[in-house]
Symmetry: C2
Subunit: 369 residues, 2 copies
């Protein structure tokens, strides 16, 4: 058995995933990461190590003219050649707001619906060690604070609608899980390559299996921050430490473990901060009392604010340390105004001894133009 396939089944066991009788949706873009995943799964199926139904799910965003259709054709041919079931979705991506995020949301909707109609056990994605390392650097650079440095998880339950935007995100806000509303659905999101497969390893595996994969030309476009991190920053970091990808990914995963332990402690009933924080069980706090917030240590306050924002916005994308600090100033100082602005025309407003989460007032927006 190829080492790549052996590593996958080892991780499968570690994640305590079932060995037979289930359906899995495999998100396949056509890149080396997702192609290597489906090839290895298919190999395990042929060897009767995994007796599951695997459905290749490809979402065509229709954003890159001919290239998107060529990706779709490629995945269709691959599925036929390997006798794999296939589900294809087509995108109607809103051009309003953040295009990348809209595309992600649309892809997620498709994957979830496909999973639900197939009564799938989990959605599998091809995120690699490199994705983990790049996400860590993205979050470090934008200053998202210690809990923002927690890595993506190799396995998690899919949250409710508010949290769904994150699901297949390469730029994941996959933090603070203890406070995420947990969906009653048992559907899981699993990233079985995340902890051990580098992007290079997925490419090598495809080559060795004699299977082509698609290059996303957006991966060469240096106007994307993630591409600059991959193409410029990481090679420089490799001059310092040739194993930097693995080192960063490991750091992210240790930070996640530490933050999950912390989260355990803060569950309602477990610790004194639990009673104040938005918890996974309770409803969203519409407002936070200033006097409660003032008594918190900075790290607890920051974590609570980030979770509160996440509950209202559905994610933490674009939330930087400066936003949290602005809210902290609202709390601490009588001088600083009444509003801390957030991205996406949202704001935290101080009024009558409490903080509220609100849409930014129209007149405020008008004055900005």
């Amino acid at each position: 058995m190829h080492g790549f396939v052996r590593n996958l089944i080892t991780e499968w066991r570690r994640l305590e995933l079932p060995f037979s009788g289930e359906t899995f949706i495999v998100a396949v873009s056509g890149g080396a990461d997702s192609i290597s995943l489906i090839l290895a799964l298919n190999e395990l199926k042929k060897r009767e190590k995994l007796n599951h139904r695997f459905i290749v799910a490809h979402f065509n965003h229709m954003l890159r003219a001919g290239a998107s259709d060529a990706d779709e054709d490629f995945v269709r041919r691959l599925a036929v050649e390997h006798g794999l079931e296939l589900a294809v979705g087509h995108g109607h991506i809103s051009q309003k707001g953040n295009l990348e995020q809209n595309a992600r949301n649309a892809r997620y909707d498709f994957l979830t619906k496909t999973a639900e109609s197939a009564k799938a056990f989990a959605i599998l994605t091809g995120h690699t060690v490199n994705d983990q390392a790049e996400t860590f650097l993205m979050n470090l650079i934008r200053g998202s604070g210690p809990d923002g440095l927690s890595g993506m998880r190799a396995i998690r339950k899919l949250g409710d609608a508010k949290a769904q935007g994150q699901v297949d995100a390469k730029i994941s806000e996959d933090n603070n899980s203890p406070f995420l509303p947990i969906s009653p659905s048992p559907l899981l999101l699993t990233r079985p390559l995340l902890t051990w497969a580098t992007r290079r390893a997925t490419e090598n595996f495809c080559h060795e299996m004699g299977v082509e994969y698609r290059y996303d030309t957006m991966n060469e476009d240096l106007t994307f921050k993630r591409v600059r991190i991959r193409k410029l920053l990481i090679p420089m970091l490799e001059d310092f430490n040739p194993k930097i990808i693995e080192t960063l990914a490991k750091t992210a995963s240790l930070m996640r473990e530490a933050s999950e332990e912390e989260g355990e402690r803060r569950k309602p009933g477990n610790a004194e901060t639990g009673k104040l924080g938005p918890s996974s069980a309770g409803p969203i706090n519409d407002q936070l009392a200033l006097k409660d917030l003032k008594s918190l240590k900075k790290t607890d306050l920051y974590e609570l604010l980030r979770n509160w924002i996440k509950q209202h916005r559905g994610n933490l994308r674009g939330i930087e340390m400066k936003h949290i600090e602005a809210i902290e100033r609202l709390i601490q100082s009588r001088k600083s105004g009444k509003t801390a602005e957030l991205p996406d025309r949202k704001a935290v407003v101080k009024h009558g001894g409490v903080l509220r989460f609100e849409d930014l007032k129209v007149e405020k927006l008008a004055s900005e133009h």
Copy 2:
């Protein structure tokens, strides 16, 4: 009052340092950071905001021929011009082992002795926000794990002999403080520029005061990792985030706060892991029982191992994630050998159900040559 001076007195208040009647040792290399510190302190003394005895302490390592003597002459002249007391030490730096570390130890010895003979309240150093950010990156790159990413503290008690190597370290291992043996001496180490002054701000302040400062030619030498971080890596990170220095320093300080809270919880009697870990109160654990270690979560295990190593070696310099992982393999696996090697000819050895900290066997060393 110049903004730099005002910021210094604000930080002085925040650190709850005394305003009169004490003696402070100010470590002055001749660089912009330490020169700006002594200039600002002297300004506060003239304005009677701080009524203390400030002693300029300069250590001549005698490592860079004429340059080291020129630095000493420069600091001597500055002290005379500004009517400052001066203590100068001369180095006898061992060429064995890590030269930088030996120089640091010698400088520390000198500063401590000077402080003790003057019955000083604290040693003050000119570490800046940049030093904090660079240290964070050094530790991130070498993979020292989450607790290795905690920043230097702006104020701390000086530890016992085992911990002294760190004191004035630009590459500080200033972590895990809750487990550090605390000296009965009240001598403090304080870094009053650390949380707010960038290196650029110290240079600007010197220029505006019309005072020269010395450049250390070693700061241009790209064979040093820290210099490459400063000259190559940070400028690239600034392309992503112009405030990267402040962002990284803030992240380090939030990580420190989180780890100190965690440390509080783990003090003996506070939490279940406390009883196992080497604590600040108890003696050093000569050995660790495998069965106790096996029951720990990974993050607790890693922290415990790092603290245990630190108690035996005096610091964590050169300890990378690979070393901790090697010890973890010793613990978890019956297959992996009996010894995990550490830098400096030390090793962790598995024997009869326990781990011991030992010197590497001679025959082992011989075979390496």
